[in-house]
């Protein structure tokens, strides 16, 4: 992980760490914090705790997003402090709806300069974000909303498994992982498990990201905690709930970063600092039947 982040994430980069509630790349984010990256433009539909931590750590210059809350719990307080101008250094924001962000990644992945969608009419979003525009349909003449392509310098995606070439398989919630990967100039895939290429080839319909577009593969079990990895471990809801109190207080948040991010060398050490984590969250097996690719 250390090498992958050092090689592919630079100060000032536009960085997408995707994974919608599922497979959020916390391990990679923590390594970025440890390496002291600055002036990043952070892109995610849901900044979630992962970007709240990076904002608190001072990595972010700008945030591109569509829903900035603590899912099922409440606020992202580091984010709010930065926006509500209470002491924290100001944070530039560029805001869309979820569909708007999905469309931005879709355009980037398809190397189109824009993506059309029926949205935003009647809302105040175009008023505060002039990158939301419209085109006239060449057939009906009606105005259709557009968003510009998002092409991150680097996309970091967590997944269940990949082979050494980066052929990556994901199941359960897929979010916009595929679109973010194809939209980015460089792709870091972080996996729970490294598997032989034969495992990938045995079920090619499960492959979400081809190795041909992957820059680095990092094996990092529990790398998505406190989010979840279907088939590997459950969401750590206690952690999300607990974040409310930690993040409310700048000092407590700094102390948390010192202990759990700066204070550990890597993910293994982070897991070791959470006694009972593995026992508490490890998934019980629920294996589906395979299908036949025979002919």
């Amino acid at each position: 992980m250390r090498e992958a982040i050092a090689a592919h994430v630079h100060d000032g980069d536009t960085v997408a760490i995707e994974g919608f509630t599922h497979l959020i790349g916390f391990a990679a984010a923590h390594e970025i914090i440890r390496q002291g990256r600055r002036d990043l433009t952070l892109c995610r539909l849901t900044p979630d705790l992962v970007f709240d931590q990076m904002i608190a750590a001072g990595c972010a210059r700008k945030l591109v997003f569509s829903w900035a809350g603590n899912p099922g719990v409440g606020s992202l307080h580091a984010f709010r402090r930065a926006i509500e101008g209470r002491g924290a250094e100001a944070l530039e924001i560029e805001e869309y709806s979820h569909f708007g962000m999905v469309a931005r990644f879709s355009a980037g992945a398809a190397r189109l300069p824009f993506w059309p969608l029926r949205s935003f009419m009647g809302t105040d979003l175009p008023r505060v974000n002039d990158r939301i525009r419209t085109v006239a349909c060449p057939y009906t003449g009606e105005p259709i909303a557009t968003v510009p392509a998002l092409e991150p310098d680097v996309a970091i995606l967590h997944a269940q498994r990949a082979d050494a070439e980066g052929n990556t398989q994901v199941w359960g919630l897929l979010g916009v992982q595929k679109e973010a990967a194809f939209a980015a100039r460089r792709v870091i895939v972080v996996v729970e498990e490294l598997v032989d290429t034969a495992v990938v080839r045995a079920d090619p319909n499960r492959t979400l990201i081809p190795g041909t577009i992957v820059s680095a593969v990092v094996v990092e079990p529990w790398g998505a905690h406190p989010s979840f990895a279907q088939g590997y471990y459950d969401r750590d809801n206690d952690f999300y709930v607990g974040w409310e109190e930690i993040s409310r207080d700048e000092g407590a948040l700094r102390a948390w970063l010192d202990e759990y991010v700066h204070g550990v060398a890597d993910r293994a050490a982070y897991v070791a600092k959470h006694p009972g984590l593995v026992e508490r969250l490890s998934a019980r097996p629920l294996v589906c039947a395979g299908v036949s690719y025979g002919y």
Partner: protein, 243 residues
């Protein structure tokens, strides 16, 4: 509120579900009069039958045993924009006279008093679902004449009807609160349609930031049945997270 919301759902409908109370309402409806309700979550789980009350819209319990899991591009392009969603649930910090919702900021956008999470999927749910149901606790702060920021458009925005603005869905047909149900009148204005047992018109009027019209005849809602309460308290939300 959960009971009133559940009763708005018809069997076989495809519902775009958020977490919390709407989730509770949908599962109550499934357990009572609408067993064939299909729940679609913005995370991409379709036809989920969660074993436990999901804490987030992205909960592994929504995935295991669902009918389909698809990427979010499909959720928004094929299901919502594609017109495949019958009912969408919405909530928010502010709901105004025309059913416009604000989940973005209290105060000016560039210097907000309170920064809220933002749209998420709400903007497109409000625009594309065939009809939407707004669920929100009644209070003067939550029901201003005009929202500070339109995140999710209602029946009229800036004096223009939603159809004239090109929105495919019918928009918010009802607002379900903890004391009453408002519904969109002919002109799109939210008016009082039904009172919960024990609530009265004056209190409701006092909690709303516009001169609230009252539909005649004004209904009184049926109180929750013992069965509805049992399912809510014993099965769906034993911890009382949302009740």
């Amino acid at each position: 509120m959960a009971v009133a919301a559940a009763r708005e759902l018809r069997d076989g409908e495809v519902v775009f579900v958020g977490i919390g109370l709407p989730n509770l309402a949908c599962n109550l409806a499934r357990a009572t009069h609408a067993p064939r309700l299909v729940l679609v979550y913005e995370s991409g789980a379709v036809g989920a039958v969660p074993e436990r009350l999901p804490v987030s819209i992205g909960d592994p319990a929504l995935v295991a045993g669902s009918l389909m899991v698809c990427g979010m591009a499909d959720v928004f392009q094929l299901f919502l924009q594609g017109g495949r969603i019958d009912v969408g649930f919405l909530g928010g910090a502010q709901v105004d006279r025309w059913g416009n919702i604000n989940t973005t900021v209290i105060g000016p956008y560039d210097d907000p008093r309170v920064r809220l999470p933002g749209s998420g999927g709400a903007t497109e749910i409000a625009i594309h679902a065939r009809r939407t149901l707004i669920v929100s606790r009644l209070s003067r702060r939550a029901f201003p004449e005009r929202v500070d920021f339109v995140t999710s458009p209602g029946q009229r925005v800036g004096g223009t009807d939603r159809r004239a603005l090109g929105m495919p869905g019918a928009g918010p047909v009802k607002v379900i609160t903890d004391r009453c149900i408002l519904e969109a009148g002919p002109g799109g204005e939210m008016r009082l349609a039904a009172l919960f047992p024990g609530a009265d018109v004056a209190d409701v009027r006092a909690a709303v930031g516009w001169p609230l019209a009252v539909r005649e005849p004004l209904r009184e809602t049926e109180p929750p049945t013992a069965e509805e309460l049992r399912i809510l308290r014993e099965v769906l939300d034993p911890k009382g997270l949302h009740l």
